[in-house]
């Protein structure tokens, strides 16, 4: 094994390099701001941002805002799961409907749907309903497509086994099709939930209502620089934790082999 390959395969070196270079970059920014080379009224010192964390947690009700965002995401997720899976099943069972609308659903999934948030503001008002509906709108199309893909990908031999046992349509669906499609449906749900969460936090920020998105907007309007940066870091960390959690959940639920 060459030296470079051995270095690349080392267990700790890449992690140390990644974290170390981030640490060096943070220290360099701190030094440049203290030296006056970066304007501290545009970029606050990393140490100030770090110190702002406990302040925003205690003074800005971060926990209740976090719970509000999560509850909005949960409500949107339920809608995404119910309508997305039912939509995919309906399209699978009606071939003609599928042929007629599958490209439309794909176009909706690729469209920049978040831009219709002013329309939802008019319809639902400046409320949590707008935020939840925006999350649902963004997440439902990928879930429909993945459910459809999963059901269509069921192996012919499994369907034939079901037929040879003379299963009814309902039994065929619950005993053969649905279990076989479950891994792909979870991929779709994960995608749908990620889209929903992105849109929920984004719309909270844009309409200045709700949980964590609103927190960033409020702090920036108060020109609380360190607080704004700390809140952004907090939202990024929360997003990453949710994505990692969903990935683990998907892996755990996926059947072995």
């Amino acid at each position: 094994m060459s030296k470079s390959a051995a270095v690349a395969q080392s267990r700790w070196l890449p992690a140390v390099l990644g974290l170390g270079s981030i640490g060096v970059a943070i220290a360099a920014i701190e030094g440049l701001i203290r030296a006056g080379l970066i304007n501290r009224f545009i970029v606050p010192m990393p140490s100030e941002i770090f110190l702002a964390f406990p302040r925003i947690v205690s003074e800005e009700n971060v926990l209740s805002r976090f719970l509000l965002t999560i509850s909005e995401a949960f409500a949107a997720s339920i809608l995404v799961a119910v309508f997305g899976i039912i939509g995919g099943v309906v399209l699978y069972q009606h071939k003609l409907l599928r042929q007629a609308t599958e490209t439309w659903v794909a176009a909706v999934a690729a469209a920049p749907l978040v831009l219709i948030y002013p329309l939802y503001l008019v319809i639902f008002g400046r409320s949590a309903t707008t935020i939840v509906m925006m999350g649902f709108t963004a997440g439902v199309a990928p879930t429909v497509l993945k459910t459809l893909e999963g059901l269509s990908g069921t192996r012919r031999v499994l369907i034939n086994v079901g037929r040879s046992f003379k299963l009814t349509s309902a039994q065929q669906f619950w005993k053969v099709l649905f279990p076989s499609a479950l891994p792909t449906i979870f991929v779709g749900l994960r995608l749908g939930l990620i889209f929903a969460l992105i849109n929920i936090v984004g719309v909270e920020f844009l309409i200045n209502f709700g949980g964590l998105g609103q927190l960033i907007n409020e702090l920036s309007e108060r020109y609380d620089l360190a607080g704004t940066y700390a809140a952004i870091c907090f939202v990024v960390l929360v997003s990453i934790c949710v994505f990692v959690l969903m990935e683990r959940l998907e892996r755990w639920l996926r059947p072995v082999g």
């Binding site: 002013p118 936090v201 990453i240």
Partner: protein, 264 residues
């Protein structure tokens, strides 16, 4: 039997005669009809669902207004520059990550997890750094498209046939020649796919920033229509936006040859 089958075989039906076409027409007619009924019934608040005729008039007025094209030009300028900056930096980062396993293991996870975070939350920072003008919108678009392009290029580079890389090395190609003669042509499809996704998210980032704080651009027009409660114009602008977004997406896919990828 075979002979009889051949004798009775029918020529394929014209596209407009197929049941799928009829079902599509029926769905469109049903949706438009329901819309018109709701608009006429007044079940929802006045003007929330304007009549189709009002939307068509607003669409005509919008498209025949020279000021609209100035706003459209501003948005295209911002998205174009965002794609150029974010795309070039994403390409460079993707090439670096794809070429080095060490760099990929050290940094790719950060890009992978930062990629799906809502980028609009960085807008206050962009305003502080680049001001309230076009700069902050371009920066928003550039940040948005950087991640999918970098990840797509890095993944595409790892898929390159090692034989091609050995051919380049045997010809003693320098790094620039390797990039332009081997890597980029060999991973054309992932790069174009990344650009296609990048364009979509750059468009969202730029337009959302325009709706938040701007006095020009299509995003500004949408939020202005909301402020004035001019619903027909808002629907007209959203129709234009979706047509542009889906059209550009299809155009990149077609010219990039994504439709012609052979499924092996």
């Amino acid at each position: 039997m075979a002979e009889a089958g051949r004798l009775t075989a029918q020529a394929p039906r014209a596209a407009w005669l197929r049941p799928v076409t009829w079902l599509r027409i029926a769905i469109i007619v049903a949706v438009l009809g329901t819309w018109e009924l709701v608009a006429a019934s007044g079940l929802l608040y006045r003007d929330v669902v304007p009549s189709l005729a009002a939307i068509a008039v607003a669409l005509y007025r919008t498209l025949s207004d020279p000021a609209f094209y100035l706003h459209l030009g501003t948005t295209f300028y911002e998205i174009g520059l965002a794609l150029l900056i974010g795309g070039a930096s994403g390409l460079a980062a993707g090439l670096a990550l794809g070429a080095s396993r060490l760099l990929a293991r050290a940094y790719e996870a950060y890009l992978y997890y930062l990629g799906p975070t809502p980028k609009i939350i960085f807008f206050p920072v962009m305003i502080m750094w680049f001001g309230v003008g076009a700069g902050s919108k371009i920066a928003m678009g550039a940040i948005s498209c950087f991640f999918p392009i970098a990840l797509s290029v890095a993944a595409g580079m790892r898929e390159i046939d090692p034989v091609l890389i050995r051919v380049g090395a045997s010809f003693r190609a320098n790094p620039w020649q390797m990039v332009t003669k081997i890597y980029l042509p060999a991973m054309r499809h992932p790069v174009i796919n990344g650009l296609r996704i990048g364009l979509g998210v750059a468009l969202i980032g730029t337009l959302l920033a325009e709706t938040k704080l701007s006095n020009r651009g299509i995003g500004f027009l949408v939020i202005q229509a909301y402020s004035l409660f001019n619903m027909p114009q808002m629907y007209a602008l959203l129709i234009v936006l979706f047509v542009i977004a889906i059209g550009l997406n299809a155009l990149i896919g077609r010219f990039g040859g994504l439709d012609n990828i052979k499924q092996l």
